[in-house]
Symmetry: none
Subunit: 210 residues, 4 copies
DNA sequence: GATGAATGAGCATTCATTCAT
DNA sequence: TATGAATGAATGCTCATTCAT
């Protein structure tokens, strides 16, 4: 019985749920599926989380609270130019969304079709925090006359929307970019690179003053 | 009580299904929900479509075959400059996606989580056709030296992803853009305008050759 | 397909439920038990009644609305003396409770331990109506100086409580009265007779003015 | 935190079980409910009693063996007249059933619907002992020519049934007798008085010779 | 075309109980 | 003694679909 064995089953359930919710959606996934994939007794879902929905909530809360401090540091760093800041932020989102692509697929789904308003609020708060950060950098750039005037909400939509489009249409982009969809490592590397280069070009020309 | 009465029920079912699939997802919607909202007997779904899944397929096929000739005309029109062409295409997508926002929400969901590979192929084909069109315009612009070199797949992702982001996070953008989410007409007008202006600025600077 | 075939399954479910609820209690009976005994598909319970609890409610409502007009007639009949009236009423309750002993066992149980306040109200109303009738006859008898002054609420408790005691302790009274508990017909005949004679003696001496 | 701490948990479980079984029935009460109300770990029920059913059995055995010697004394006391004896017995039952009304509600339920024949036998024995006592007094009264001939089984049913009716329809009698059902002390006092006076009047006229 | 009834499989959840510590 | 974790069976209920009329 190894070290982490103790709450292992809870974590196994979270991992299995993340995969299945992403692949088949929340409603398309039964708690039996999750328990089976996690190799854990069905009733443990009730035991640890109370319900299928609260399992989803736990999953979302856990992921949203990951690495938030990294972003705060970046936003407040005075020694980085606004353009570098926004490009580093884009890189950060690309890395994070692609690493946790399954999770972000779930978030996309649930924000549209989920029944739980509690979960929707959770997601809204997260999205709002992200938006405030981008808006702040855009404003800083304009104040320093290095950015031209752009629509902050739509610029945000472009930033997050482009990444989401790539990870949520994974099948198609694997075909288009000639990636073996079974090789997750290869997928990550190639998609990350393409997105980062694209954003560098896109954001520079979109934001640069004059 | 007139001409259209005959196959009215089929259409009522499609309309009800579109709304419910968009709001609650395919799995989150029961055929009972659809029949009730459409005010049509439950068994009619089997009668007209054979199954719930084939109802979805019918819905998708119908919408994908809407207005395709308009796009073909635009692509082939020699008298329009590549830049105008891409901007008109962006306008077309904005109009279409926002007018049929519910439908496109369903497409987003099903491409990720749907079980039917038949439906996924349908969507892939549609997306591919769209991509080929954009790619063609980008190539034409580069050939004519009016576009610089950009990543066509990622540019496509930005175009469709930005629109999808806005319609799939409708709640949040209603808050951010101060739109009454119950006033669909107002929502459409405002979001359409913001997106079109944003694309004009974004695509021009992104594509224009120096 | 005979005449009554149409809603046969609904009735079969009610009959099976009555038997099982009486024998094993509401919580001790599963919907599977009921469906099996009724030889009806499990889902028909949902189809006809909506839920297990509403099946119970339907059962109670049906039985409470049985023969209520008979009692009204008796209460209002001016040609019967108060003493005969109360004795006929006692006879009526004895007949009814013993004929529907299973149902009245369910009522006893649910009034104590049931969770549904809706059902409790239903039962309270029924009990109240019965009490008002008894109270009316007692008052009439006192007005006409043929009854002495008694406690109406406790007299009611004695009337209904005695019958309930006999049917709810069926096992013991079968032993005490030397009745073969499998012979329902014999049980009914003997218990009915004993109760009616007892009430004739008990109520006469309890109520008669000196 | 004192002497009784040791087996306190066992008693706490019994107290909690009595309350819950009376309120929600045996099947309507989960061992989790009991453990929670008793503020005792769930597994302790298995530890102390073996199973939920044996917890019920322990509860019944404990209460049935309470105060039995008091009754024996009364039955054998030669210096009390049969009429006083039966009235004191009625008083005794009224006091005991109302003090332990929750327990007697459980007994009523379990005798009807319980699955355990062991428990049913326990209850039958108890009821039989009670009946023998009443029967003995009735016979003594008849031998001494102070009682007329009555049906002993039905008279027993009236005695116990009247009390059970009042405690098992507590809600209704609280309304009828204008008792605040939250004030247990007031309930006990008023109901006890009403029942005792009623029995004095009822039994005297029912039993008195001539 | 249209419908109410019916079905069997599946759903999330809760149950009483047991076990290792 | 005492506990948190774990289990397999059972719970009430809903599902998409089919069928006789």
């Amino acid at each position: 019985m190894a070290l982490a064995e103790k709450t292992d089953k809870r974590v196994q359930l979270l991992i299995a749920a993340e995969q299945l919710f992403a692949e088949k959606g929340f409603d398309g996934t039964s708690v039996r599926d999750i328990a089976q994939l996690a190799e854990v007794n069905l009733a443990m879902i009730s035991y640890y989380f109370g319900s299928k929905e609260r399992l989803l909530k736990a999953l979302i809360e856990y992921n949203f609270n990951l690495n938030i401090e990294l972003l705060e540091d970046l936003s407040k760093n005075e020694s980085i130019s606004p353009m570098d800041k926004i490009l580093q932020l884009a890189d950060f989102y690309v890395d994070k969304f692609i690493l946790k692509r399954r999770f972000h697929t779930i978030v996309s789904q649930e924000y549209n079709t989920g029944r739980s308003s509690e979960i929707k609020e959770l997601i809204t708060n997260f999205k709002m925090r992200n938006f405030e950060r981008v808006k702040g950098i855009l404003a800083e750039g304009q104040r320093k006359k290095v950015f031209r005037k752009v629509d902050p909400e739509m610029t945000m939509a472009t930033l997050i929307g482009t990444i989401n489009q790539v990870i949520n249409s994974r099948n198609m982009y694997c075909i288009l970019l000639r990636i073996d969809s079974d090789n997750e490592e290869d997928y990550r590397r190639k998609v990350t690179e393409r997105l980062k280069i694209h954003f560098r070009q896109l954001l520079r020309s979109h934001l640069a003053a004059e």
